[in-house]
């Protein structure tokens, strides 16, 4: 039982029960949790991301696939922890101080989780100090800052400055995103990258951690 194409198809088409069933079957056949994750679930989510970027999938299809993937992950997670399999990287995400919009941030979190990252969701209206605290505590590799409003974009720079002033800037990569945010703005404030949507943010996070 080496062919993960059926499992991938079930994830991509959002078939939650079938994903759980097929995942269990792979485990029964002797596959390790990591093999199933790397061979079936994560590549499936990469295809979902590609389809989203290509305009073939929209948010409903992406979310349905993510929920189906979670049905498999729920089964694998205890086994992955048992065998000390590390996530691709740890990412702290949050909406910056003064901003409580969370749709974009949540989509990024869902896509990152589905792509093998451990995500620590700091929530909304997150102060620069809180981002630093969470990144430090968790040993995060990447910090993702979200803002929907131009009025809260300066809080992204404040957060980057906080990492600088705490002497932690070199320990994390910082990516930013949100409706009014641009690549140029990311460069201006010293962020390491800009994600234009949830799928794009996954590719960016991977490139930032050398994945």
């Amino acid at each position: 039982m080496d062919d993960y194409s059926e499992l991938q198809k079930c994830v991509i088409t959002g078939k939650k029960l079938e994903v759980a069933e097929t995942t269990s079957q792979f485990l029964d056949s002797g596959k390790t949790a990591k093999e199933i994750l790397d061979g079936g679930l994560i590549p499936a989510m990469a295809i979902v991301g590609q389809k989203f970027e290509a305009g073939e999938f929209f948010i409903p299809e992406m979310l349905l696939a993510a929920r189906a993937l979670n049905a498999g992950l729920d089964i694998l997670k205890p086994l992955l922890e048992e065998s000390d399999v590390k996530p691709l990287a740890k990412v702290v995400i949050g909406t910056v101080k003064g901003d409580i919009h969370d749709i974009g941030k949540n989509l990024v979190g869902i896509m990152l989780r589905g792509s093998g990252f451990e995500v620590i969701d700091a929530g909304v209206d997150v102060s620069p100090a809180k981002f630093v605290e969470l990144a430090n505590e968790s040993g995060a590799d990447v910090v993702g800052l979200s803002a929907l409003l131009t009025t809260t974009m300066p809080a992204m720079k404040d957060t980057i400055d906080e990492f600088e002033s705490m002497g932690l800037r070199s320990k994390v990569k910082i990516m930013i995103g949100g409706a009014p945010v641009t690549e140029d703005y990311a460069k201006t404030i010293g962020a390491d990258g800009f994600g234009r949507n949830a799928a794009n943010a996954v590719g960016l996070a991977k490139s930032l951690v050398g994945g």
Binding site: G55, I59, P60, D99, T151, A179
Partner: protein, 317 residues
């Protein structure tokens, strides 16, 4: 010709004398600039209309512009941490699909606030749950849509009793650079709603105006089919060339100038932006209006520059 007559001439492609220009000032912006903002408003009557000095309470924040948490007539919980700016729905009354069956829209007249149809669906269900509904297409999706639509049609009927010349509606249908749902699903589930609401207005002789934030290019044709007279789309999310291709001459465009760049641009860049907009979208017979929204992070110098350029290009020919 009065400003009002000219406005309707532009909307109806009936050779306006000038391009109608207008602007909205967020309450937080009033609060920040106060008398200086008032001076700007008084200086540009073509943009702001009649305004009496001293008539604005600079610190007045109504409804969801107020800081704190409040629940609207639908049971949606709003939160605002930035007084004078828009609040956000943080509590959804229908988190479970089965809740839809027993749900009843407000019995009182709660109007047709911004987010009256598509946004109301996710205010009620939560964004992710609504998106899953659109993916799985359970009967509850159509049931909820029908309930919201039914309320809206009743509200429109009440509004039309005063025989208004135009109805102004707002519903953000797009994300920054794409639609949240596939255009086919939009056409299947939402187009019939807008078609029924707009038809009711048109039958009463009332023009229909719709504001939408976000990228909506793929559904503009559908909105026109529904009977839309004036569309208020964002430049940044749609692009001028795309709007010219999809909407110019087919529906009046009240162009929402690129407010996502107002805080960052120089006055020269602002002028070039407005110049480009009128060059690409204006027609001698009309169909173009220009609109700017001022958030509190826009420097006063840029607000003045926007007004100056609007004043300059409204007579563009």
């Amino acid at each position: 010709m009065t400003i009002e007559e000219n406005y309707y001439r532009a909307i109806e492609f009936n050779y306006p004398k000038w391009i109608p220009v207008s602007a909205s000032i967020m309450p937080a912006t009033w609060s920040k600039y106060r008398e200086a903002m008032e001076e700007v408003v008084l200086e540009y009557p073509f943009i702001f209309g009649d305004f009496e000095k001293g008539s604005r309470d600079f610190d007045e924040f109504e409804g969801t512009y107020q800081e704190g948490v409040q629940t609207d007539a639908w049971g949606c919980v709003w939160k605002n941490v930035a007084p004078g700016l828009d609040g956000v729905v943080v509590g959804n009354p229908l988190p479970n699909r089965e809740d839809v069956h027993s749900f009843e829209p407000p019995k009182e007249h709660a109007g047709l606030p911004h987010g009256f149809m598509f946004m109301r669906l996710y205010y009620l269900r939560g964004f992710e749950e609504l998106m899953i509904d659109f993916a799985e297409e359970p009967p509850e999706l159509q049931i909820l849509i029908d309930k919201v639509l039914s309320y809206n049609l009743q509200e429109i009927e009440v509004f039309l009793e005063t025989k208004p010349r135009i109805i102004i509606l707002g519903d953000d249908l797009g994300n920054q650079d794409w639609l949240p749902i596939h255009p086919d699903k939009w056409n299947k589930y939402l187009k019939p709603c807008y078609a029924r609401m707009f038809a009711k207005c048109r039958q009463a002789g009332t023009l229909v105006y719709l504001h939408s934030d976000g990228h909506i290019l793929e559904i503009i044709d559908s909105l026109i089919d529904c009977g839309l007279d004036v569309l208020n789309p964002q430049v940044g999310a749609n692009g001028l060339d795309n709007l010219a291709r999809v909407a110019k001459g087919k529906v009046a465009i009240n162009l929402d100038l690129d407010r996502q760049n107002f805080p960052f641009w120089t006055p020269e860049q602002i002028d070039a932006h407005i110049h480009e907009a009128v060059e690409k979208l204006s027609l001698p017979e009309g169909g173009l209006l220009l609109f700017a929204e001022f958030e509190p992070d826009v420097p006063l110098a840029n607000i003045k520059a926007i007004c100056e350029s609007l004043e300059k290009y409204r007579n563009y020919a």
